[in-house]
């Protein structure tokens, strides 16, 4: 088991990287930032993802796919901050949490409705709604939470 302080440091660097640039560090970049060898960086990444199981690696790789509330792999939930669109939310639910990564800024989430393809916009600042268009937007959980249901967690 990795040292909890190391896990905290690695998590923090990964989260900062995806917030600042729109993509999370690769484990080799993480290793460099942590001052460790590349393989140690890879092991550290695996340990972080084990400790943070709401995120995941792309299957059969060591590439971060999801690091919620943001996603390394593009989703339909495009996130813009200060007019710049370089982030994606993990899912529609996590999209409402992205506001907490950008204190003081308006976070715009734009996504097509999976039924009709028409645009939806949700803007939030410090947890409060600024814009909801259309006003009737709802969240929907298709399979229920929990690993036992064996369905894609992002639905």
């Amino acid at each position: 088991m990795a040292d909890p302080r190391l896990l905290d440091q690695a998590f923090h660097r990964l989260m900062r990287s995806i917030v600042e640039s729109g993509r999370a560090l690769h484990y080799a970049e993480l290793a460099r930032e942590m001052g460790s060898g590349v393989e140690e960086g890879r092991q550290l990444l695996l340990a972080v993802m084990q400790a943070y199981p709401i995120g995941w690696l792309h299957p059969d790789t060591d590439y971060i796919a999801s690091f919620p509330p943001l996603n390394n792999l593009p989703t339909q939930y495009r996130v813009s901050v200060r007019g710049e669109q370089k982030w994606f939310a993990q899912c529609g639910f996590e999209a409402t949490s992205v506001t907490w990564l950008f204190p003081g800024a308006t976070v715009r989430v734009e996504a097509p409705c999976l039924d009709c393809g028409e645009r939806m916009v949700v803007e939030m600042r410090d947890g409060k709604f600024v814009t909801v268009d259309p006003p009737g937007i709802v969240g929907h959980l298709n399979w229920g939470f929990g690993p036992s249901r064996g369905r894609p967690p992002f639905l």
Binding site: D8, R16, G92, S97, L114, I137, G146, S148
Partner: protein, 80 residues
């Protein structure tokens, strides 16, 4: 875990699970659910060790507060 323009849009979605009628949540409740205290600390240097472990209890408490403390939402096994 998606957003839809309305409940009717969700029900028309080709992948809609007919057993997910209880899976709707209005936007303010959703923002509350994903905006509990631990979420405010995701950028803290000790988030993983100090805050993330508190998340499950916090979520449960919030779901109870909004009347959604069911197996579907809690992620606990359904009664057989």
């Amino acid at each position: 875990m998606n957003l839809f323009r309305s409940e009717e849009h969700a029900r028309r979605w080709t992948q809609f699970n007919p057993q997910s009628e209880e899976g709707f949540i209005n936007l303010p409740d959703l923002a509350g659910f994903f905006g509990t205290e631990t979420r405010h600390h995701m950028l803290d240097a000790n988030y993983l060790s100090a805050w993330f472990p508190k998340r499950a209890a916090e979520r449960r408490a919030y779901l109870e507060q909004i009347g959604k403390a069911t197996p579907f939402w809690l992620g606990t096994p359904s009664p057989s």
